[in-house]
Amino acid sequence: MSDLIIAHLYPYEMNIYGDTGNVITLCRRLQWRGLEARVEPVAVGEEYELAGADIVFGGGGQDRSQLAVAGDLQRRRDAVHEAVAAGTVFLTICGTYQLFGRRFLTQAGEEIPGIGVFAMDTVGGRKRMIGNVVVATPWGDLVGFENHSGRTRLDPGQEPLGRVKKGYGNNETRRDEGAVIGNCFGTYLHGSLLPKNPGFADELLSRALRRRYGAGFALAPLDDTLERRAARMAAQRP
């Protein structure tokens, strides 16, 4: 009997830059509070009922992998939109984040269609944006590592995840990072993201738990001294 179900989209294709660390973090932080999560990997071609998941996670991948999953994601387009509308918690990172926009135009001029959850387009560039990032968000400063050549432009009405204090974020010019709609989050931050940002990890867990067990559900606090130390060090690195 598990308290939350975490669906991990395309773990074999989209698992670069330690994104699996996010799933490990969600599971552990539940465990430390006496709760339990079941992780369900969702493979390309596999039938899967997204509506049954409490949290859906999708990580970054190499170009080749991203192409491989883009078609499969199209198949799940309606299911994803329905789950987002129903308040399922989503965390999408880098490659999956890009595919949650309308489209990705590669440097070669190829168009990879996204599923249009976020009102944004991504265009491939020559220069990669690489380095440690600090982003100011309503859930505190998030610290991560970015490594992407795609430049993402949000539509005027599309809310970003936060403002870049250090690094690039969505693109080189606008200093916005990521995107949010309801309980659906997108970001370029690897690192892994959640281990060093426990407040944000707990925000995702709380939203999922409240949705399933009622608004009164509160997570017991944990000792995050080590998490904060690691985040502070990362924030100082180039």
């Binding site: 699996t20 660390g21 490990i24 190499q62 690489i130 440690n132 892994s192 080590l226 130390r229 690691a230």
Partner: protein, 424 residues
């Protein structure tokens, strides 16, 4: 050969100034004569061997050099860490006569997997060895597919490619090779090699698609090293006591022996050379220090960390382990890869853990989320003291550092040695 002379002078000057010989002479000489490398290697009598890939380059190179020298051949090679064009140019200048002539039978060069593409047409290798292709320092190399395409392009310039049959990205390279030879391992060893995914176990295994020219049939831990059995397609077999542990070093031994066969070295004599080859710089090396043994397990990427984890998990419980993670350019600035390794496999090990380096807290955090407690110390001398305090006299402690963290510890364990090893 003005470029050559100038390069040598720069080397002496920079050593005199205490910066180590470094790649500076090569850099200077290459500026003066951009065809210096081609000119110098042209005189190498039996040609050049290039060893590239993500992991195992240094060890494979060292093993191959021992095999060729065992045949009485005069071999030149580049020291570890100098595996870019300028490092190779520096080494060639160093061994060249003042008239700019290199006297050698074979040159064996370890070449960085990103630098190999432009270097291969210049070196025209007789043999090119690709050890494996794993994710590594993506902040530097970009995508794995890109790195693999560099090695694939390089393969086209070699007379013979020696390839890892158990690595699909490497097998693909055979398509562009003039001739290809394959090394690999028997199914039980192949299956036991850790894969990338820590959470969902291994991908379904694909049967090897090629015939092996040399196969690693057995690999069993033995003392600080292991006993391996190699079997050639010709029917030759050899049981070898390697001084280095881990099945991945069995692969390195097979790669080296297969490359040596191209120079007529029979498997039996290659095996003898393997037995006398000590570990390469930091790769399973044991240093005696204050009556204790410190075993160095250099890690550079998740595949390498998984290898170290496998080795540590097989030890009797209670070992003192210090993992030291730096994030300088030579280490890779992105430490995300710590989360790609199967650290959870250590949860039942019963070892004691400490973490050090610039990113000590990141590693401690990784251990914490794998259910393991660890102390952290970002100051290197303090970390070493604390680590040694946990190793009883006469016993072995395990130091698992990234590249620049290893140099810092070597400075403490063997003052001056790090500089000599890297720049000699």
């Amino acid at each position: 050969m003005a470029a050559c002379a100038l390069g040598r002078l720069t080397g002496r000057l920079s050593r005199f100034l205490g910066r180590g010989g470094s790649a500076l002479p090569g850099l200077v000489a290459e500026k003066v004569d951009p065809h210096l490398i081609e000119r110098l290697v042209a005189a190498v009598r039996r040609g050049v061997v290039v060893v590239t890939g993500t992991n195992g380059k240094t060890t494979t190179t060292k093993m191959l050099v021992a095999m060729l020298e065992g045949e009485g051949l005069e071999v030149i090679t580049n020291p570890t860490g100098s595996n870019l064009a300028r490092g190779i140019a520096s080494r060639l200048i160093e061994v060249a006569s003042w008239r700019g002539r290199v006297e050698a039978d074979v040159a064996v060069f370890e070449v960085d997997e990103a630098a190999v593409r432009p270097l291969a047409p210049r070196l025209e290798p007789q043999v090119l060895v690709v050890t494996n292709m794993a994710r590594d320092q993506l902040d530097r190399f970009g995508e794995l597919a890109t790195t693999a395409s560099h090695a694939a392009a390089a393969v086209r310039h070699a007379a013979v490619a020696v390839l890892n049959a158990d690595d699909p990205l490497v097998v693909e390279m055979a398509a562009g090779a003039a001739a290809a030879r394959f090394f690999g391992a028997a199914a039980p060893i192949r299956r036991a090699m850790p894969s990338d995914s820590s959470l969902y176990g291994d991908l379904p295994e694909a049967a090897p698609s090629v015939m092996l020219d040399l196969s690693l049939e057995r690999a069993e831990a033995h003392g600080d090293g292991q006993v391996v059995e190699l079997a050639a397609a010709s029917g030759e077999r050899a049981v070898v006591r390697l001084q280095v542990p881990g099945a991945y070093n069995g692969y390195n031994a097979a790669a080296a022996a297969l490359a040596a066969a191209e120079f007529g070295v029979p498997l039996g004599r290659a095996a003898a050379a393997l037995e006398s080859t000590g570990p390469a710089f930091g790769r399973g090396q044991v240093l005696e220090y204050r009556g204790r043994r410190v075993k160095l397990l250099l890690v550079k990427n998740p595949a390498g960390l998984n290898q170290a984890i496998r080795l540590l998990a097989a030890l009797p419980p209670g070992a003192e382990v210090l993992v030291a993670i730096n994030d300088l350019d030579a280490d890779g600035r992105d430490v995300s890869w710590l989360w790609d390794a199967r650290v959870e496999d250590l949860a039942q090990s019963g070892h004691r853990f400490g973490t050090a380096g610039i990113r000590a807290y990141d590693m401690a955090l990784r251990l914490k989320y794998a259910g393991l407690e660890a102390w952290s110390e970002t100051d290197f001398p303090a970390a070493l003291e604390r680590f040694l305090a946990g190793v009883p006299e006469g016993e072995t402690g395990y130091l698992v550092p990234t590249y620049t963290a290893m140099l810092r510890f070597l400075d403490l364990l063997r003052p001056g040695a790090a500089k000599r090893e890297v720049w000699s």
